[in-house]
């Protein structure tokens, strides 16, 4: 099944610069509807207010971190099916394992490039 590039994508990061970079890279990959949140709690509010097809989140944020957001999403019957990609500078194996155990769909380590982003999104969503 073809990926719906009109799906709502939620990007979550407390750094405005990274949100802007992600938004632009996703736009270049032809994703049309991109929404932003600056931490896990804001992201949860948006996720409960509108249907999203993909979450791309940073790990280090306050007050709610990316891993906490992931756990909340996976514990929520209405949200748990949404693919969740963690993009973070936290590249320690214990972090990767914790994210996998919490149900992360894929994990991208910073710094990353557009090719890596596209490759990981294809592995999560399918070819587009």
């Amino acid at each position: 099944m073809a990926v719906d590039l009109n799906m709502n994508v939620l990007i979550v990061d407390d750094y405005q610069t990274m949100l802007r970079i992600l938004r632009n890279l996703l736009r270049q990959l032809n994703f049309k509807n991109i929404d932003e949140a600056s931490d896990g709690s804001e992201a949860l509010k948006k996720l409960r207010a509108k249907a999203f097809g993909l979450i791309i989140s940073d790990w280090n944020m306050e007050p709610m971190t990316g891993i906490q957001l992931l756990r909340e999403v996976r514990a929520d019957e209405k949200l748990k099916h949404i693919p969740f990609v963690m993009i973070t500078a936290e590249s320690k194996s214990e972090n990767v394992i914790a994210a996998k155990e919490a149900g992360v769909s894929n994990y991208i380590v910073k710094p990353f490039n557009a090719e890596t982003l596209k490759g990981k999104l294809i592995s999560v969503l399918g070819e587009f």
Partner: protein
């Protein structure tokens, strides 16, 4: 030394120090107790007493020298001047790089507008170039996170220096009064060599690569 042979005033002081909260005692109080012990050792001294006397005298000297050495390092200046200045400088770096990155991305946005009016290879080349610029702008996020960690480490150092200043009591003030500050010669600016500036944001020895992470994730399947 049996407790009943200790000067009552000294015994009371020792008991008080034992009840100090937090397990730390000011350096000057330790010195004061050692002095007091030395003063109370009178009369016929056995060989053990003499040995103890020598050890205590040596401890007293050591504390006194350590106090002077540490006071000469001016930990008050480190806490009040250097650490806050370093934190401010680091904050300024984050702010300046964020501002510069946003200016770059504004400019790229304009290029993309022009790009949308072009067709064929020229449009593709511009798309590739703008993608690379966006990727490169990620440096600001990583340096920002790393600098935030350094600022956290500085705050930790500040707390430790503060504890040191408390332990020293008025020793630092006495040192400052005895050694007024003289005009310091300006420090010659060191310009780093280009190769010193080429280190990337990720310390390879401390971090996992994307390939390592992929292998780790695949091991779960």
């Amino acid at each position: 030394m049996a407790t009943d042979s200790v000067d009552p005033e000294l015994a009371t002081r020792l008991q008080e120090l034992g009840r100090e909260p937090g397990g730390s005692v000011k350096v000057e109080e330790i010195a004061e107790v050692v002095e007091a012990i030395l003063t109370t050792m009178q009369g016929d001294l056995s060989a053990v007493d003499v040995r103890l006397y020598e050890e205590l005298e040596s401890l007293s000297r050591f504390i006194s020298e350590a106090k002077s050495d540490i006071a000469a390092l001016r930990p008050d200046e480190v806490k009040d001047e250097f650490l806050p200045k370093a934190a401010d400088e680091l904050d300024a770096i984050v702010e300046a790089t964020a501002e510069a990155t946003n200016s770059i991305m504004d400019a790229v946005g304009e290029i993309e507008e022009v790009m949308s009016k072009l067709k064929g290879k020229n449009s593709e080349r511009l798309m590739d170039a703008t993608t690379k610029i966006y990727e490169a702008c990620g440096f600001q996020d990583i340096t920002g996170q790393r600098i935030t960690k350094v600022v956290g480490a500085l705050q930790h150092i500040e707390e430790k220096v503060d504890a040191l200043l408390n332990a020293f009591g008025d020793e630092i003030a006495k040192y400052k009064a005895a050694n007024p500050k003289t005009e310091e010669a300006p420090v010659e600016e060191v310009i780093p060599a280009d190769e010193d500036l080429l280190h990337g944001p990720q310390k390879k020895e401390a971090a996992m690569s994307q390939a390592d992470i992929d292998a780790l994730l695949n091991s779960f399947d």
